[in-house]
């Protein structure tokens, strides 16, 4: 990550190694370049190249790929060479290739709803909807846009250009309210949650829903890649961890949640609802329900709504699959102020999430996380920064600490607000999904879930 922070802006490019490598030019404004490496449509990983504002020749690109992705690619080329057979031991060190989504074995009759939450970002929403229209899938795909700020009137004209897209209004601000409204109004067997600031490749839906062929899978999360790294803030956000969770498939189940008696299971490393698919049935499971409205962006608590939902779903006995192949491109916030706010919110939300698991589920491991692990990790990071081993600014670490301290208070405020505004609910308690037509774009504000 060091290169990225030193070298701003960073160009984002993709290459497909199943074709002949071509030079990457038009980099005269970029001291560094991040290249996502594909084999066909399969995402293998990324390489960072310090190109010093020069074009990257195929030879240079090839060296960087071999150098940085050698072990991932190794399994593609081992066994093909008449090299010393006694060295086959290498083969055992090579990890299996990230599993490919492959042709989905999920029946085409399984329908999908995409719940897209938006808040006054018409241009980005338009791009996102365009990308959604290009999805290649044999199944019925319903797109539900949740306008979380209907009074501005910015969203409906955009949605009107896309026939078939359902518009739902949710006046109560907060991403969890918006997502819940989306879940409630989706008719598909699978509900995909996403945001307005991403775009997706055409095979995204199919790759994301493929793991649902197994009945124990309750959630599938996907990778989130930066669409651009033009400003320092965007690079810093990637250095902070970004939204992606790497290129290796993960799968966790209820036993994973119980791995340690002392340490909280790191559910926050499982992905984010900018790119996540849920089995629609889980929301009607009494042990799970909808998202906790007291968490998440738009609330004082900042984030944590997705993490807590994952927590509940896994705890209820479902598995979560992280499917790195199903990626979206996310536009990170460009300015420093927005970045600081986001990191501050993440820090508040992290604490709020843990307190929620403690208060709602009696998970005492949260205390260990909050009182021991977090302070320790901050000390370690500051130490590393001071020793020059990291370039992540101390000012941001301090900001995170402030956010953490603010966390409990913010959770209390959020809960009071939810108490005032009410919780989201399925309109019909019998549990059968409503036909989508009822909730079409003429739905007035506040109709959803108000009781």
């Amino acid at each position: 990550m060091k290169t990225l922070l030193d070298k701003v802006p960073v160009a984002i490019r993709s290459v497909d190694i199943s074709r002949e490598l071509l030079a990457i030019d038009d980099l005269s404004n970029y001291p560094a370049c991040r290249v996502y490496v594909f084999l066909g449509t399969r995402l293998l990983g990324m390489v960072d190249i310090e190109n010093a504002r020069q074009a990257i020749s195929p030879a240079c690109l090839r060296d960087a790929i071999a150098d940085q992705l050698g072990w991932q690619l190794g399994s593609l080329c081992l066994g093909d060479h008449p090299y010393q057979p006694e060295l086959s031991l290498i083969e055992r060190k090579v990890p299996a290739l990230p599993a490919t989504a492959g042709p989905s074995r999920l029946p085409a009759s399984v329908s999908v709803s995409i719940a897209l939450a938006t808040f006054d970002r018409p241009e980005q929403l338009q791009e996102c909807l365009k990308a959604l229209c290009k999805q290649e899938s044999p199944r019925r795909i319903e797109v539900v846009v949740i306008d979380n700020h209907p009074s501005s009137g910015l969203t409906p004209p955009v949605v009107a250009d896309f026939p078939g897209v359902v518009l739902v209004s949710e006046v109560r601000q907060g991403l969890a309210y918006a997502r819940n409204a989306g879940f409630v109004h989706s008719s598909g067997d699978i509900v995909i949650a996403t945001d307005d600031d991403v775009i997706m490749p055409p095979d995204w839906v199919e790759k994301l829903v493929a793991p649902f062929e197994r009945s124990d899978v309750g959630v599938v999360t996907g990778n989130v890649l930066p669409r651009e790294l033009e400003t320092e803030s965007q690079c810093l956000f990637e250095a902070y961890g970004g939204l992606g969770r790497g290129f290796n498939r993960m799968e966790v189940g209820p036993s994973w949640l119980r791995t340690s008696r002392r340490r909280a299971a790191p559910t926050w490393k499982l992905g984010a609802t900018a790119n996540a698919a849920f089995r629609a049935a889980v929301f009607r499971d009494p042990k799970i329900g909808l998202m906790d409205e007291a968490l998440g962006p738009g609330m004082p608590s900042g984030v944590g709504e997705d993490t807590y939902l994952f927590y509940k779903i896994i705890k209820a006995g479902y598995s979560l699959v992280y499917q790195p192949d199903a990626y979206v491109w996310h536009t990170h916030r460009r300015d420093r102020k927005a970045l600081r706010k986001q990191i501050y919110n993440y820090s508040k939300g992290h604490v709020a999430y843990h307190l929620t698991t403690l208060l709602h589920n009696g998970d005492r491991r949260a205390l260990f996380r909050l009182l021991v692990e977090l302070p320790h990790s901050y000390l370690k990071r500051i130490y590393q920064r001071l020793r020059g081993r990291s370039v992540y600014p101390v000012s941001l670490i301090l900001l995170e600490i402030r956010g953490n301290l603010e966390g409990p208070f913010s959770l209390w405020r959020s809960r009071r607000r939810v108490g005032r505004e009410g919780r989201s609910q399925f309109p019909v308690a019998t549990g059968s999904g409503l036909p989508a037509g009822i909730m079409s774009s003429d739905t007035g504000p506040g109709v959803t879930g108000d009781t």
Partner: protein
Amino acid sequence: MADRIKVLEIDLNQPLAGFSGLEDYNSIHAVVRWRGDPVGYIDVPLCNGHCSASAIRAAILKVHSDNLLHSMVRRDLDAPFSDIQDLENAKATGDTDSAARADNTLVTVAVCTRDRAEQLKDCLTSLSKLAYSKVDILVVDNAPSTDETRKLVQSEFPDFRYVVEPRPGLDWARNRAIDEARGEILAYTDDDVLVDPLWVSALVKVFQDDPAVMAVTGLVAPFEMETQAQVLFERYGGFGRGFKRIWYHVDFTSRGDSFLHIGAGKFGTGANMAYRRAVFGKIGEFDPALDVGTVTNGGGDLEMFFRVLEEGHTLVYEPAALVWHRHRRTYKELHVQLTNHGIGLYSYFMRSARNYPRRRREIIRFGLWWFWYWNIRRFLKSYITTPRVPRDLILAELRGALIGVTRYPKARRRAEEIRAEYRSESRVSPGGIPEPARSE
């Protein structure tokens, strides 16, 4: 008592075999190669002059799994994979080896030598075995005191060109090679070197793959480690610069990057370097005030690496371009060599600081840092812990550094005198190239 180490090559395309009959040696130091690519060194101790294939295999796997794998992946990226199934087919069609590509670029290989006919013979023999066909080999005899070199070349290597450069100094000889070269690419090596058959092929491939590359340096491995001095030199750092291909290009607009090219020693050495001939027209020729044969005793190669990067060109270190260097055999020679190394390096700093005022501050800062980090710190540390090399060698280089700071102006004046002297002579004998005539 001397630590004798047997230098070997292990080719992974052959079945691995053990070694025996090496009773005179303590261990082996081997370059592991896979399809010609050097993958890394292994050091395996010998027991009664014997070491087993399994010990070698274990050593390779332990140290070089990574490099080996990268080598394989790189090869495969050369011939793109379309799919895993396709890869299976590719296996059947066989070699996409670089050896198959047409040798369509003429390469001039320049060997600059002076009165070392015996060693030169080995060098030229290795050059006659190059796998690359389109080479033009040029022996530049620098201010010879005898005509042994000429006799050697004319009698045993009639295909090689021989020219005399009467102006004493290695950089005069290198510049002469630029004038005489016919190839688009000009590769330099020294007379105490044996080149690998694939040396030129590897160099050319880098130039062909990327037209922006102006200079390529390669791996210099020890030819033998028979004496303590040779072992020490390798331990001191040697000439090798690792087994990873590295692309160097300096981005002067990025803060902090304008330092990266000043420590030019990391790019390689004059015993194994190649340039696009056109680059000399853009950035100038070698500075005759530097390097062996002058009072600066070295630094000409480093200065050229620096200049290539400083002028905004790309330099690549390509380990597949492999040569074997015969290190100095006696301790005394090693001592002198390290002193000269210090002198050469600091002369190069002085020269570059003088010619590139815009980079002067960085050069001075780097020079001071390097002096502290490499010369002083290691010297002081040798009193605290047991040093890897004897303290007097560290001291020799430290002394060289101090001397080096003062030498460049004098060398420059001398070079000017030589230039004037030979210019007046060439006026007497018109025809442009008076020197060979003079010696014959």
